[in-house]
């Protein structure tokens, strides 16, 4: 199954919130929807979930307009919240039935997920008697119990201790391996790099960059060198303003063009005792800062 968002636009009053967002995601793969606060991630998710319509653009499943009657979606919102005073099983059944499950089917699925997330003992307890992390696990059940085709997880790891984060990682990997489309929204780039094959970075309502992570990294302009040497001060003195020293002690050399990298590497290795020299490979965090940094 392939999900495509084509040129999605949305305005609230005078404010244009989405200025033509396009991306695609496929079954069995995770897609990272990134962006700073207010970049348009939640609006995109709400349009995708049919909470409100877009002003323009298309949402397609395998090339055909999305049919919300046939497609099941699971959502873990960033703003967590269920009914604090109600019994956990009652509210889980409520949401499973709202998402189209029959009662017996829902009971089986919920019991499966409660056991998987080590929450069975809380089945008949009130939600407000649980810790924040456990409440989050209950919320995750509402997103997964009805066996959705598309799973949307907004900051799924926030508030989880390392053990629970590990548990959730396994669940997400399992969902991906079961052929689900997993849409991931998070500011924790390590998780995005761990799970997602593709990403879109939204900035000011538009996709600043979109594609496979390894391609984005590969296509990153290779005009920076990272140098580690005992002679850092001398190198810095020789290269002047195009060389900056990082907190780690490494030197960061900005080249005038990517073609200059071989020549610069030779020059430095011939002149100084160099421990390490390499072309700078950006982390996802670096890419995020670069593309989402200046919000329009």
């Amino acid at each position: 199954m392939r999900l495509e968002l084509q040129n999605i636009r949305k305005s609230f009053g005078e404010k244009e919130v989405l200025k033509g967002i396009s991306f695609s995601a496929e079954s069995g793969r995770a897609f990272g929807l990134l962006g700073r606060n207010g970049a348009g991630k939640t609006t995109t998710i709400r349009i995708l979930m049919n909470v409100f319509g877009a002003d323009g653009g298309k949402i397609l499943i395998d090339g055909k307009p999305i049919d919300y009657q046939k497609l099941r979606m699971g959502y873990l919102p960033e703003e967590r919240g269920l009914y604090p005073k109600k019994k956990i099983i009652d509210q889980l059944l409520y949401f499973a039935e709202l998402n189209g499950m029959k009662r017996q089917e829902a009971v089986r699925a919920i019991d499966y997920w409660l056991e998987k997330l080590e929450m069975t003992e809380y089945r008949n307890k009130r939600l407000d008697t649980l810790s924040k992390g456990n409440q989050q696990k209950i919320q995750l059940v509402t997103a997964l119990a009805h066996n959705p085709d598309i799973v949307i997880l907004d900051e799924p790891f926030s508030g989880l201790d390392p053990v629970n984060a590990m548990l959730l990682k396994d669940v997400v990997k399992e969902e991906i391996s079961r052929g689900k489309i997993v849409l991931f929204s998070s500011h924790q780039m390590n998780y995005i790099e761990e799970f997602c094959n593709s990403i879109a970075i939204l900035n000011g309502g538009a996709a600043a960059i979109c594609g496979e992570i390894h391609e984005i990294k590969h296509n990153y302009v290779r005009d920076k060198l990272v140098v580690r040497s005992e002679h850092a001060a001398e190198i810095q003195k020789e290269l002047g303003s195009c060389c900056t020293k990082k907190d780690t002690g490494e030197l960061f050399v900005q080249l005038s063009s990517p073609a200059e990298k071989q020549q610069m590497m030779r020059r430095l290795t011939e002149s100084y005792d160099i421990d390490e020299i390499k072309v700078f490979e950006p982390s996802l965090n670096d890419i995020f800062v670069e593309y989402a940094g200046d919000q329009n």
Partner: protein
Amino acid sequence: MKQFGTILKFELMSYLKNKIFVGITVFLAAAIAVVMFFPNIMTAVGDKDSDAEESASTEGLMLLSMENLKNPEVIEESFSAAFADYEVEVTEEDEEAVKEKVVSGMAECAFVIDSPTSYTYYVNNLSLYDANTGVADEVLKSMYGMNAMIEGGMSLEAAGEVLAVQISHETESLGKDQMQNFFYTYIMIFALYMVILLYGQMVATNVATEKSSRAMELLITSARPVSMMFGKVVASCLAGFIQLLVVFGSSILFYNINRSHWEGNMIVASVFDMPPDLLVYMLIFFVLGFFIYAFMFGAIGSTASKLEDINTSVMPVTLLFVAGFIVVMMSMSNGNVDSLLMRVCSYVPFLSPMAMFTRIAMSTVPFYEIAISIGVLIGSVVAIGVISAKIYRVGVLLYGTTPKIGSILKAMKKA
């Protein structure tokens, strides 16, 4: 439709599992049982103690002081007949001694009669319901008339006959008898007022709670706003209806068990002799009135981000309803339920559930007027329902300060 059913079931079960809801319902039924069984209990207790009570009971002492008056024995006889509840005793003591006896409690009250047309009434604490002076006025007036007639040459018997003449009359109400139906109309209007206001506000609180607890984030992605709105409103309506059913049902049941004890009480008997067609009208106006207000309360609840905002946000709607209630209550108390104001109110959708129901109960309203009123109300319920669902759809997504009406309308156009 399936979503509506799921939401309705969930919301209704929330009410039925709510300890406060169950507690209040049981308490009301128990209170009604106590009231209805009260005469029975009193009779049972009374039978045991009746002998003791009879010997112990003493009538209040009424002193009569009437120096220099003619026929004191006739006056005493007349007062004894008129004040059967008192032990009437003539005293020769002076006014000060009489007052002292009243103050000390030896006598309950005293009449110091100066002349055939003037007297002073002494009582320790004057009750709000003390009618003794009125009775004494009548007695003295009759005696004065009789003396005048005798002095004018009439025989004692003839004068007695003139004064004892009885006027007979009959009243036949060709429409409704307000004396009879005032109490049940009052009870029903009050029940309508309480249930609509209480459960309507519960809808607003319910929606605002879902929004403030952020359960709404998940709800709006799982269910259609129209299903959510209608599910909540119908569930609240059913919860209110169940409570009314328990209260009125237990009242009727306990009344019928104790019917023999209550038949003598005109007010209670009139309440339970309510015509069945009025119950049907009650049901119609309750459901429609509830819906129109609950939709508005739901829409208002969706625009509030915090529970604390609810009280101020619902105030205009509450005031509208209270204003309607006051108009109806005032018209009922002055007996003019067909005034121009009430006629107008019976077609205004927000006021007609109470106004038209009162007119139907206490007056004779042509059927076409009732049909128009119900028709307008149904149309308004549908319109308000649709508008409220649109506000709800927009309102639940708006966080921060409570939005202005203008911005909600703009967002509704876009939605």
